[in-house]
């Protein structure tokens, strides 16, 4: 079984622009009865930064380790630069890797850590030293070479690990939750640094993360995974604004979900409340659906009589979160239905929004997305 019809998705999903550097086809991995990866196919273009995003246990780390050769898949093909590496041991593939723990060798100096892979290739000592200096400068640690890992901060250790992974000039860089051991501020700074470095070197990069913000900020494309399957592959803005499933919608950002029925081709009803959709739904008439919309899409200002989907709500709860307030709103017509809305601090002040107050809001039709009612899996 090489390429059954209809399984060519990997090629189609790949960005048309670049040449595919890493290709994964129909990868499956089971641990006893547990399926860690099921028919995973994707392609990563040369120079692209792709994030595997998903909750813990979704298979993203297993997929990364399979690409590295650290786990052996049960079936499927992995190609790197057109070469089938599916059955090769890690050392025969061509990648650099940074782990969450960094896995720096504690008894070796920073310079020795960075040069570890260069020495293996029997390079001249002077050349190794030059290359190590170059790499340390690249990660802004030029003067730290003689120190031991414990003498560095977490962020510095992370950059040493990055320099070590880049030392042998691999064609693929694998990052396994590289930022999650750092505190919030360092994380944001390093995230930008890694992204800038990756752009500058043009190295094809795959990063695993469970942090959606990190993925949105860094990735050229995001692969959202759940239960060993790919839920959606797309650019950050595609993933955020056009989630392919309610799982993606819920996992990336916050999404309100309300249950309703299709009452017309482009109308949906929740009890006595009917909402207009921007375009005809892809479901059969009368079907039970989930209506999803993001809290920041709920409008309170500049509402006119002609504004579609105006609804009367009661503010049940108001959480002050700094730049904005997150309100829990209850439909007056259907008191058992509540949803979240984000209002800017300005709006709260100007409109004097308080708890227990009644309010008119609008749910813009173009912000409403429909998902199948039953479960989180895509139709």
């Amino acid at each position: 079984m090489l390429q059954p019809t209809g399984r060519n998705a990997a090629t189609e999903r790949t960005r048309a622009a670049g040449e595919v550097h890493l290709r994964v086809r129909d990868l499956t991995k089971r641990y006893g009865p547990f399926t860690a990866l099921e028919d995973i196919s994707l392609g990563v273009a040369r120079g692209e930064l792709v994030c595997f995003l998903g909750p813990s246990g979704c298979g993203k780390t297993t997929l990364l380790r399979a690409i590295a050769g650290l786990e052996m898949q049960d079936q499927g093909v992995i190609e790197l630069a057109g070469r089938d590496v599916s059955r090769l041991p890690p050392a025969a593939r061509d990648f650099g890797i940074v782990f969450q723990s960094y896995a720096l060798f504690p008894n070796l100096t920073v310079a020795d850590n960075v040069g570890y892979g260069l020495v293996n290739r029997r390079k001249a000592r002077a050349e190794v030293r030059r290359r190590v200096g170059e790499l340390l400068a690249l990660v802004s640690l030029a003067d730290q070479g003689a120190k031991y890992p414990v003498q560095l901060s977490g962020g510095q250790q992370q950059r040493v690990a990055l320099a070590r992974a880049l030392a042998t000039s691999p064609s693929l860089l694998l990052l396994d939750e590289p930022l999650s051991a750092l505190d919030a501020r360092v994380r944001v700074r390093l995230r930008d640094e890694i992204k800038a470095l990756q752009r500058r070197l043009g190295i094809t990069t795959v990063m695993v993360t469970h942090d959606q913000e990190e993925a949105l900020a860094m990735a050229d494309r995001i692969v959202v995974m759940n239960r060993g399957r790919i839920e959606q592959i797309g650019t950050p803005s595609e993933i955020y604004s056009r989630p392919a499933s309610s799982f993606v919608a819920d996992f990336v950002g916050t999404m309100n979900f309300l249950e309703g029925d299709l009452s017309g081709p482009d109308r949906v009803r929740m009890g006595s409340v009917e909402l207009a959709l921007a375009q005809p739904a892809m479901f059969a008439g009368g079907a039970r659906v989930r209506i999803g919309f993001r809290p920041e899409e709920v409008r309170t200002r500049n509402l006119e009589a002609s504004t579609p989907n105006r609804i009367e709500v009661t503010v049940r709860w108001l959480d002050y979160l700094g730049a904005f307030c997150r309100a829990t709103l209850e439909l007056q017509a259907e008191p058992n239905l509540t949803f979240l809305a984000d209002f800017s601090t300005n709006a709260v002040r100007d409109l004097a929004i308080r708890e227990e107050q009644t309010l008119t809001v609008a749910l813009p039709p173009e912000a409403l997305r429909l998902f199948p009612a039953a479960s989180g899996s895509p139709g």
Binding site: M1, R87, L88, A91, G117, N120
Partner: protein, 565 residues
């Protein structure tokens, strides 16, 4: 499911050099454990159901054993002596361990060191000391009010001394695993002290107490040296095994006695595993270490208690040392070195001492290398799960096998005429092999514990950098594990130096060991020379330990800056 239907077996990935080295390594360790442990034990097991001619006789040997009154009497003797020793040691050790872990007693490290001193002596040493104290010429003989120390009294006294550090170690570990938050919570609720002790302290160490009791019981039942030296006409299982095999050449009955000896040891082992698991479950990851508060009266009383116990331990060691240096106990107490002229009492002279040093060094070197390779592959390698599980099982087995039993197994396996390995019988190499196997478990656990603390991704990183795994082992894993490796080597060395029970069956005329020469010189009535040899062993073991501590402090404190936080 269609995916399963079309699933085709993938071709095996090509073997890399790493694979070959790793497979060779695990095979080496497996072969070592099979030859040094599994096969001898199997021989012992099978011997017990065969007759002298090698025919299968079922349980006939066992029936004969249990219908021989003298043998059954030994069994009973062993049990009650062990029970009595346990009943004395465990409370004594509990008080001591409590003082070490739960009070603000001063000089804790000195008290710890003194409590552990018996570990550096052969079990025989305490027996010799008690002969000097309560024996026929003992200076405190009158204290026994006419009773003889040669028999159960002497055995129990010497066993209490010998088992004390083992019980202290187990109990101190259990007591140090306390969760400080529980005590704070109990105190915040105004719980009285005795109720805290009953509801927090005791449940926390219940398993430790059970474990300590089993450990002591097993040590007493399976120890050979003490019963041999101070037991007199009082027969126990361990001396029976020796008499059956060495005295009467009755291998089948010896095998039966060996298997009977295995029973308490296996029970203790099972109890230990069980309690360890329970103990681990009690302490959650987020526990806060318990910090004792200063309570002057309590701390003072415990200091007094520990000083008394430690003083007695030191006194018992010193009696043997002193006796070896006086001219003629107790009549002429002028100092003399004449008992160290071993050639007077022992055909090999100082030979046994040097043979012991060689054997211990060989055990330390070979044992450390094999144990570390085995532990590394079990812990860090991904391949061959079956082989790794087997190594892990065999590595844990020696804990459940008394030295005497292992020694018997060696007699049956390595002395067999069909076995090409019988050329090693009676050699120093075989003694070292036996000692390595005998002390394998603790060393293996130490190595695995150290390896567990190392990042599991080192192997992955090194593969991604295209470095062979053994280069990373040598440059990174071994240096990081160096303290544990030294621990293992010293542990192997000290135990090989002091062991009697396993090697008593195995030494050859040319390489009698120091511990065995103690038994022989004592048998021949040269008690002072026996005490002298025991003193030499203690001093050597202590010197090695001291060197180890020094090395630890200098090498790992000053020279290895990377360990500092």
């Amino acid at each position: 499911m269609t995916a399963a239907a079309v699933r085709s077996p993938s071709p095996a990935p090509p073997l890399t050099r790493d694979d070959v080295v790793q497979r060779a390594g695990i095979l080496l360790v497996l072969a070592f454990l099979l030859v040094s442990l599994a096969l001898p034990l199997w021989m012992l097991l099978s011997k017990s159901v065969l007759d002298a001619g090698g025919r299968f006789v079922g349980l006939a040997n066992y029936v004969r054993y249990f219908s021989t009154p003298t043998l059954v009497e030994s069994l009973w003797n062993s049990i009650w002596v062990a029970l009595l020793s346990t009943a004395i040691v465990v409370p004594l050790a509990f008080g001591y361990a409590y003082a070490l872990t739960r009070t603000r007693m001063p000089l804790k490290s000195a008290f710890t060191a003194l409590a552990l001193m018996p570990l550096f002596a052969p079990s025989l040493l305490s027996a010799i000391s008690f002969i000097y104290i309560f024996g026929n010429q003992g200076f405190l003989k009158s204290w026994l009010m006419g009773a003889s120390v040669y028999g159960p009294i002497g055995i129990v006294l010497a066993q209490v001394f010998y088992c004390f550090p083992h019980a202290v170690l187990v109990l101190a570990t259990a007591l140090s695993l306390a969760d400080g938050r529980l005590y704070e919570a109990a105190e915040a609720m105004g719980t009285p002290k005795w109720r805290i002790f009953r509801t927090v302290t005791v449940p926390g160490i219940r398993y430790g107490l059970v474990s300590a009791a089993f450990v002591v019981f097993t040590l007493v039942v399976t120890d050979f040296g003490i019963a041999k030296v101070i037991g007199g006409q009082f027969n126990v299982l361990a001396t029976d095994a020796y008499k059956q095999v060495v005295g009467q050449q009755n291998f089948e009955m010896g095998a039966v006695v060996g298997l009977v000896l295995l029973v308490p040891a296996v029970l203790a082992f099972a109890a230990e595993r069980y309690t360890r698991r329970r103990q681990a479950a009690i302490l959650s990851v987020r526990a806060v270490p318990f910090e004792a508060k200063a309570i002057p009266l309590k701390d003072g009383l415990f200091t007094l208690y520990c000083a008394t116990v430690a003083g007695l331990i030191l006194a018992i060691v010193l009696v043997a040392v002193w006796a070896s240096f006086v001219t003629y106990w107790p009549y002429n107490l002028t100092l003399s070195l004449k008992h160290y002229d071993f050639a007077q009492f022992e055909p090999n002279g100082w030979g046994p001492y040097f043979a012991s040093l060689q054997m211990a060094a060989l055990t330390a070197v070979v044992g450390t290398v094999v144990v570390f390779i085995g532990a590394y592959l079990v812990e860090k390698w991904q391949g061959w799960p079956g082989a790794r599980a087997l190594v892990q099982f065999l590595a844990m087995l020696p804990m459940a096998v008394p030295g005497l039993v292992l020694g018997l197994g060696y007699v049956f396996f390595f002395n067999a005429s069909w076995n090409p390995l019988n050329v090693f019988y009676g050699t120093l190499a075989l003694l070292a092999l036996n000692s390595t196997a005998h002390f394998y478990t603790t060393a293996h656990i130490t190595a695995v514990t150290a390896l567990k603390q190392i990042d599991n991704e080192f192997e992955a990183v090194s593969a991604s950098l295209k470095a062979p795994f053994y280069r990373t082992v040598w440059r990174v894993t071994v240096p990081i594990c160096m303290p544990a490796i030294l621990d293992i080597a010293v542990y192997m060395f000290v135990n090989a130096l002091t062991t009697v029970s396993a090697v008593i069956f195995l030494y050859g005329p040319a390489n009698k060991l120091a511990a065995i020469s103690i038994v022989h010189m004592d048998e021949a009535g040269a008690t002072a020379a026996a005490a002298g040899m025991a003193t030499l062993i203690v001093l050597t073991a202590l010197a090695v330990k001291l060197l180890h501590l020094l090395a630890d402090r200098i090498v790992f404190g000053r020279l290895q800056a990377w360990r500092k936080r």
